[in-house]
Symmetry: C2
Subunit: 321 residues, 2 copies
């Protein structure tokens, strides 16, 4: 019997967990990410919690998996984040191996989330899935025929950065009209803020939830108000769902996977997201091209990447045992 360590480094929260040999979660520490603390602060927290969890483990801890919320050069096992100070070209796996004394594998959070859902969540029993994480931005990861598929440059799954409109706004990536500028949490909140200012009467419930300040409106509030029947909020949800459906139709037509798993913060809206997305995909579908890809909600919620990190660690442990 053995256990493994799993780490999920996100921009908002980070998590360090202990998992058993079948990928069951035994213990998890979850805390807010102190952004100003940078890399050194984060590494210190990970080390501290890892030591503590190992002490509590009933079985030897054999490996470590890390999900990183930013670009990872998987073959080199290196974080390549350009946006976050201190992380550029950081040899993450080597650091963990030296500091924790554990064989370690690191992947980005979208791929880790895909691996987590595939092995332990909504992807179980399928051969090929696309996992999409919808939160501040939109990311995605592939499992094809049971294995992660990362592409030539490790950039496969970047659904959020498909340019879908010449007349869209400039995206955080520098491109124009990327899908995520239409249906990420950020995009939904922005549109809701605009509508709440222009037509407060159609967004009364949203404004109530945001304590009257249009600038505080969040995507979660929009989904809640929409599910309570507010017309303005429902309009924004339908519009976002339609853009998302357009993106998912690309996934279905290009790869015809068994399942598409919706994860990330926005997917916490549950059926309030899933139903309009399915409806829009149905409408856009073709009567003669009947792909049977299922669209489902993630089962592991915020923990999809952490479970994926545990899966990576278990893969490593299986190789070395």
């Amino acid at each position: 019997m053995l256990n493994v360590l799993a780490v999920d480094i996100g921009g908002t929260n980070y998590r360090v967990g202990l998992f058993d040999h079948e990928g069951r979660r035994l213990m998890v520490v979850e805390e807010p990410t102190h952004r100003a603390g940078g890399r050194d602060w984060m590494l210190h927290q990970i080390q501290r919690h890892a030591v503590s969890l190992r002490e509590k483990s009933d079985f030897p801890v054999k490996a470590c998996g890390i999900s990183f919320g930013g670009p990872v050069d998987y073959p080199r096992q290196t974080v390549t984040s350009l946006h976050t100070p201190g992380w550029k070209d950081f040899e993450m796996a080597r650091w963990a191996e030296q500091t924790l004394g554990l064989a370690t594998r690191v992947d980005n959070d979208a791929n880790a989330g895909a691996w987590g859902e595939f092995r332990f969540g909504a992807g179980r029993g399928s051969r090929s899935i696309f996992y999409i994480t919808i939160s501040t931005g939109i990311g995605g990861g592939w499992i094809l025929d049971g294995k992660p598929f990362r592409g030539r440059d490790g950039l496969a799954g970047e659904l959020g950065h498909i340019p879908v409109s010449d007349s869209g706004v400039i995206c955080s990536c520098g491109g124009r009209g990327c899908l995520e500028t239409f249906c990420s949490a950020t995009a939904i909140a922005l549109r809701a803020r605009g509508l709440a200012q222009r037509k407060p009467e159609a967004m009364a419930r949203v404004l109530e939830l945001s304590h009257g300040d249009p600038q505080n409106v969040t995507a979660a509030q929009v989904f809640q108000a929409a599910s309570e029947g507010e017309t303005g909020a429902a309009f924004i949800v339908r519009e976002a769902a339609r853009w998302l459906a357009r993106g998912l139709m690309m996934v279905v037509r290009l790869m015809d996977p068994d399942r598409i798993v919706l994860g990330g913060g926005v997917a916490k809206a549950g059926l309030a997201l899933l139903e309009p997305v399915r409806q829009a995909m149905e409408e856009m579908g073709s009567p003669t091209i009947q792909a049977s890809t299922e669209v489902v909600l993630a089962e592991l919620g915020d923990y999809s990447p952490l479970y994926g990190a545990a899966g990576l660690a278990l893969d490593l442990a299986a190789q070395t045992v």
Copy 2:
């Protein structure tokens, strides 16, 4: 030493060829498809030419590969064409095995084209490619990590039927605004005919090539006139290239393959297609997401699917020898 038979059944032409053990083309018979003759006529031609080519072969013919220009249920090795009379649920491989006495494998033309280019054409030396065939419609096939990827329902690669506009026309598939309604040969010809009628002065060279009749304008004539500098034709080419680029950006962002190989009749336009497509992709790209997927022209021209069929036959021969 051994040879194999390859068959390509297309709506316009069909081909039966003899290939050697390294996939070199030894002999090919190519004739127009007599559509009214239906399935029986086609099978008779294939049988006739297969017998004739085998008699001329210097080495034993060990297997047969067939590319079919329509939907194929690969696991069942059955043609499932709904549109062409007589082919529905036809057990193509079994027919060839019984009639020709050869182990046979059948696939649709897009997958066969992908396999042909991957093994013997513009995809050599890469691990993962997307092959797109642009002619009457738009089809595509995947080779991922060296193997064909067909998807859950055998529908992976259907780039042509991604809905890209709510305000588009109804597609042959019954959907609305599919990509192929914007940049297939059919779409290019239709747009050119409209422009030639509305603004004949901008399409003088196109009209000359079509002997003065706007209704006879073809996509090939549009590319030729565009390359000679005609403004109307160049406008239509740029517009089609831009839509195609939009589709290829989906391929790059979702799968980040090594190469995208442009095949089919429209790709015969060569650089007149490739250059505006590359330029539009460059424009749409992101300064921070630098996928290195190459976009190249098919090397086997009309014969991509036939070579793919030969590849399928060689795979079978390798298994059975």
